[in-house]
């Protein structure tokens, strides 16, 4: 049996269990409603979920732009300048060790309970891995490539656009993959904690009134977002980085997460 087949079988089995376990009464519906009742609940309130999804997607998109844009920019700066790197990287890595969630309630005070606080929180959440990966990517660029470009008379900006960025793409993408996943988690978790809109809000709201089918309908939407994001990154990887096929590092970047630059998803 091919690996992909087995993997699909596992997924199908999990889905079947999701339907069967609650139906058979092996797990109370409060904790896990059957898949069908979850889907039905989602369908019945499709309008509400659609609206919440729009809010969440908006927040995810903006946070993604901040986290990824900022992460790439700062990572590029820190990665290419040795002084700030020595100074900042260990501090960033330490900061990273702090479970940030505890601070979220204080966070809302500064930025309000609207989208801003979610965006800020998720941006910071996704920013660190992207930045760390980019810095690592820039740092490991073969100096030979930069030398070659210089010998052909490339200016600083030409070197940036034509050498540094393309050379860093594989590492940056693997950073984005993690950073993006964390942005989604960050938005949803902060919506769950304090908010009045979005998927996370719906999950929380339905949870406190014990309406588990609606809770899991929200969870399903989060899963769908994660899957879609993953597919998008894969697509970009294929488009942007054909050249890395053939190198071991290249193959790894396609399916792998660099362990550096991860943060606990809550």
């Amino acid at each position: 049996m091919s690996a992909a087949t087995l993997r699909r079988l596992i997924v199908v089995a999990l889905i079947a269990l999701w339907e069967f376990l609650p139906r058979a009464g092996l797990i109370p519906e409060l904790f896990l409603p059957s898949l069908s009742s979850t889907l039905a609940a989602g369908w019945n309130e499709a309008g509400e979920y659609g609206h919440a999804l729009a809010v969440t997607l908006y927040e995810v998109a903006i946070s993604m732009a901040f986290a990824c844009g900022g992460g790439i920019l700062l990572g590029a700066i820190v990665g290419s300048l040795p002084r700030p790197r020595i100074l900042i990287m260990p501090m960033v890595s330490s900061l990273y060790a702090v479970p940030l969630v505890i601070l979220y309630p204080v966070f809302t005070v500064w930025l309000g309970i609207g989208s801003e606080s979610k965006i800020a929180f998720a941006s910071i959440y996704g920013f660190l891995p992207t930045m760390l990966a980019t810095a690592a990517g820039i740092q490991t660029i073969d100096p030979q490539l930069l030398l070659a470009a210089r010998s052909m008379g490339a200016t600083l900006s030409q070197r940036l656009v034509r050498v540094i960025i393309p050379a860093a793409i594989p590492t940056v993408l693997s950073g984005l993959r993690v950073g993006g996943a964390l942005v989604i988690v960050g938005v949803v978790v902060s919506e769950m904690l304090i908010s009045s809109a979005g998927i996370g809000y719906l999950i929380s709201r339905y949870r406190t009134i014990l309406d588990s089918p609606h809770v899991f309908a929200g969870v399903l939407l989060v899963l769908a977002m994660a899957i879609a994001f993953n597919a998008a990154i894969k697509w970009i990887e294929r488009k942007a980085a054909i050249w890395q096929t053939g190198t071991r590092a290249g193959q790894d970047a396609a399916g792998e997460i660099a362990p550096t630059g991860l943060q606990p998803a809550t």
Partner: protein, 251 residues
């Protein structure tokens, strides 16, 4: 060495500056001190908290949960990670699923852990384990893949047994990556346990922090956050220190 000292001094200066800004913001009322008690007040509260027997007991509880979850997650995760790294088929099956599991907010599953373990030590350890294992698996895989084929061939050519290969080639080769993995796993582990404590618990420092938060006891809350941050950073630095010691042979 001198520049090393300069760097350390600058880092300390940055941290001191941050605390100073915090102090000023709060003291001058630029930020409502009810919402952000001053740094000095927070540190004083921290000192006060550390005097309390109950807080110390909470710290011990959390520490034992963290240690247990870690001691369970690391070997189990390492074993699975090893299988994935060494077996192409297993890797093809498991990797996408693992990545997916990684990108789900784990807190959704907190009630499940109460369902299975009740409330107490095992539930918190269970959730800590669950939050840690994925990252252990993924980083072990990377660590195993960092072992050079040449080194394995050398060991084989000198008739090394599997156990000898494991301890004399795999382990030292993987050590730098593995330490890095341990460091990150510990971050996940700590977050997991604290989250479980915040959600439902009788004791533990996470439980205390959540309570302080719920009751708007800002000084205690911030002191707790500073305490957790200090512990996390201390652990982080410790492992990084071991890392540089252990990989002195790396150029």
């Amino acid at each position: 060495m001198q520049s090393g000292f300069a760097v350390k001094a600058t880092r300390v200066a940055i941290v001191v500056a941050l605390f100073a800004i915090w102090e000023i913001l709060s003291r001058t009322g630029i930020v409502n001190p009810r919402l952000l008690p001053s740094a000095s007040d927070t540190l004083a509260t921290l000192g006060d908290l550390l005097q309390r027997a109950s807080v110390r007991k909470d710290l011990v509880v959390t520490a034992s949960e963290v240690a247990t979850a870690f001691a369970l997650a690391v070997p189990v995760g390492a074993l699975i990670g090893f299988l994935i790294a060494e077996n192409r088929y297993f890797a093809d099956v498991a990797k996408p699923l693992l990545f997916f599991a990684f990108s789900i907010p784990k807190s959704i599953f907190l009630p499940m852990f109460i369902l299975v373990f009740g409330v107490g030590f095992s539930q918190k350890v269970g959730f800590g384990f669950f939050s840690t294992i994925f990252i252990v698996i993924m980083s072990t895989t990377t660590a195993v893949e960092s072992v050079k084929v040449e080194h394995l061939t050398v060991a084989r050519s000198y008739g090394a047994t599997p156990v000898q290969t494991a301890f004399r080639v795999y382990l030292p080769s993987m050590l730098p990556v593995l330490l890095e993995a341990l460091r990150i796993s510990m971050i996940f582990n700590l977050t997991g346990v604290i989250l479980a404590e915040m959600y439902a618990s009788r004791d533990g420092i996470g439980h205390q922090i959540a309570t302080w938060g719920e009751n708007f006891q800002m000084k205690q809350l911030l002191a707790g956050v500073v305490m957790i941050a200090a512990i996390a950073i201390a652990f982080n630095e410790l492992v990084r220190w071991v890392e540089t010691r252990c990989s002195h042979w790396r150029t």
